[in-house]
Amino acid sequence: MSLDAERRLPASARWRRALLNGRVSAVLILLPPALILFTLFVTLPLGESAWYSLFNWNGYGTPSNFVGIANYERILNHSVFHIAVGNTLKIVAVSLVIQMPLALFLALLIHRKTPTNAVFRLVFFLPYILAEVAAGLIWSFVFDGNYGVTASIAQSLGMGNVFILSDPDWAFAAIMTVIVWKYFGFHMMIYIAALQSVPQDQIEAARIEGATRAQVVRYVQIPHIRPAIAVSAFFAIIGALQVFDVIIPLTNGGPSNQTHTIVTYLYTFGLTRLNIGFGSAVGVILFVGAVTVAVFYQRIFMKRAEA
């Protein structure tokens, strides 16, 4: 009719096209719930912890005793925190140097689909399914120097009672054993999935060229599953930063605070002692550490693995 109507038409057509190709509607429908959930359960608690970490607060009522960065200073000067960080790094090292090679070795042995392999996979994967607290309790019986498996072994060797978990030098080694036992199955499964996607013709080609089994692994299979290894290493590192529920039933951080990780440190010195401000500060430090690792890892290793 008029120029107005002509102008309006292309606009609504554009609008309809946008709706139809789904981008705008997807944003409108999917973004709000995600945004609300993310804000409620991630951003807000993070901000709250950061705020609480500036107070000396016992968790009762509202925080009022502002202490600035005093909590952070205390943490960084606390000998137990140094132990906790050291232990966390040890778990990272053990995961990368012992757990992952072990998982890879087993994956290479049983990645082919056969009935026996299925049984082995299940057996190796079982520890991962078991709840951490249950695993901790089971192992605390194993390590018990009076009645446990350790006691029987020590007895048959003619030694006196051995109490690994109450020995400051050995308790953490025992915990790392449990952690390797608990999680190697998870990494093994990642490798098995990756190994199954290695093109069979390449392996056969290598064989025909006279490659040994070791050479096939070295030059064909491992290069192919490099992205999977990068992912599993990432899980191992982030997982190591979060180790908590295996330790509490085993040693509760003892003896003499020798077996704390960053998270059990947070729990013990922050939550159970009602130093909520202090605990929040540990949480913030852990968060910053985890994000740093994630970002750098993403930048350096994941890219390289894809390339």
Binding site: N58, G59, G145, S166, T272, R273, L274
Partner: protein, 420 residues
């Protein structure tokens, strides 16, 4: 016309009454008790319900360590219990400061205060206001397996001083008997040694002085000397092997199984340790003795040798609790019900003139000890609040393992106190 209106009114009143009835539920939260005690509390609840129509009382039990961890969160939530178990002391002060408790003086029956000794009321008072009631007093004593001490040829009556005790420990070791069982993983059983020694060394005011910062606070000579004396004991390796990975519950069962000659533990362990023993029977009474924590020959300050360490345990009333809840608390704590608990030897009631109901020689002795003591110090890990208390438990375990020096131990407690 009149009748339907009246009927309607009656129905309304009844409905209203019903609604009001349904609303009065009293939630009581307590650290786990043994079966006999649970039966006792259950009976009190049913009796109170019978006397007060429309009131229901529900008891909930949570294991010791879990209770301590859960309570602060519970108190902030809508599920806060009306009445909950408490160890008195600084924890009550912190809870009052946060507004979680309510003053109950005006809600108690006339003259009720007079039935409870002043020291007990003090443990539940902040600024002269009462926020709860004590139910019983406990004392930490050396439970002794007389079969084992006889076997080693030890005269229990001769153990008066710390040196006597150390000698007895050495004699037991020489006889191939584990001198002491301890639940080191929970740490608090070890803090009894440090606390008792500090009390003996520094006198009744050692803790309150330290809280005010007198004589160097928790780094005063009395606390350091306590650490030294404790380490004199631990250097003898008196505990069962692996004691630091043993929980309190396990240790108490081990003692009842005859695995060690001494167990420094509260009188409350009498029934539970039997239930935790392998046989479920524990040691027979004629094989059990209790001796008071030994005196020290040369204390830093006078007066601590007559003091006792233990608890004044009872109940706190949370801010949202109804008047009925306070009425139930008063009912639970009335002299008659307290006397009954004494008769059944469930605990040593604190109400005035109820202790004479007991036959059990151990309970009678503890009641007499507390009455005769110059000062009854509440467990330091409870008295000083969660944070400082945990630090004390930590250093006690570290001292027991020789992981730190007495000076470091005192400094760590002081640091926790400064930053509480």
């Amino acid at each position: 016309m009149k009748h339907p209106a009246a009927a309607l009114a009656a129905v309304t009143v009844m409905a209203g009454g019903q609604a009001a009835m349904a609303q009065t539920q009293i939630d009581v939260l307590r650290v786990t008790v043994n079966d006999e005690q649970a039966v006792y509390f259950d009976r009190l609840a049913r009796e109170f319900e019978a006397q007060n129509e429309g009131v229901t009382v529900r008891f909930d039990y949570v294991a010791n360590e879990a209770y301590k961890a859960r309570l602060p969160t519970l108190l902030q939530s809508n599920a806060a219990p009306d009445i909950f178990y408490s160890w008195g002391g600084q924890t009550v002060v912190e809870q009052v400061e946060a507004g979680f408790l309510q003053p109950i003086d005006d809600l108690l029956p006339e003259g009720f205060r007079d039935t409870i000794p002043e020291a007990g009321l003090l443990a539940y008072s902040v600024d002269g206001q009462l926020y709860g009631l004590p139910q019983y007093a406990t004392e930490v004593v050396l439970w002794t397996n007389t079969a084992l001490t006889d076997q080693a040829g030890i005269d229990l009556d001769a153990i008066r001083t710390w040196d006597d005790f150390l000698e007895a420990v050495q004699t037991l070791k020489d006889a191939g008997i584990t001198p002491i069982v301890a639940g080191g993983q929970d740490k608090w059983p070890l803090h009894f040694y440090w606390s008792y020694l500090a009390l003996r060394q520094g006198g009744p005011n050692v803790v309150t002085d330290a809280m005010e910062g007198a004589n160097g606070g928790f780094q005063s000579e009395a606390f350091i000397e306590a650490g030294r004396q404790f380490q004199r004991l631990t250097e003898l390796e008196p505990f069962q092997p692996g004691f630091i990975a043993t929980t309190y519950e396990t240790a108490s069962g081990m003692f009842a199984d005859g695995a060690g000659a001494f167990h420094l533990m509260g009188d409350w362990d009498y029934l539970p340790m039997r239930e935790r023993s392998t046989s479920g029977e524990g040691l027979p009474d004629d094989q059990l003795a209790i001796i008071s924590f030994p005196a020290v020959a040369d204390p830093v300050a006078e007066g601590g040798n007559d003091a006792t360490l233990g608890g004044i345990n009872g109940w706190a009333v949370s801010a949202g609790a109804s008047p009925e809840a306070v009425a139930f608390l008063a009912f639970m704590m009335n002299a008659e019900n307290q006397r009954e608990a004494g008769r059944q030897e469930l605990f040593i009631p604190i109400a005035v003139g109820t202790a004479d109901q007991m036959d059990n020689p151990f309970y009678v002795q503890v009641a007499e000890n507390i009455e005769a003591s110059s000062f009854h110090q509440i467990f330091l890990d409870q008295f000083l609040g969660a944070s400082v208390g945990a630090a004390i438990n930590d250093v006690s375990a570290d001292l027991a393992q020789g992981a730190i020096t007495p000076e470091d131990a005192a400094a760590q407690v002081q640091e926790a106190w400064d930053f509480r």
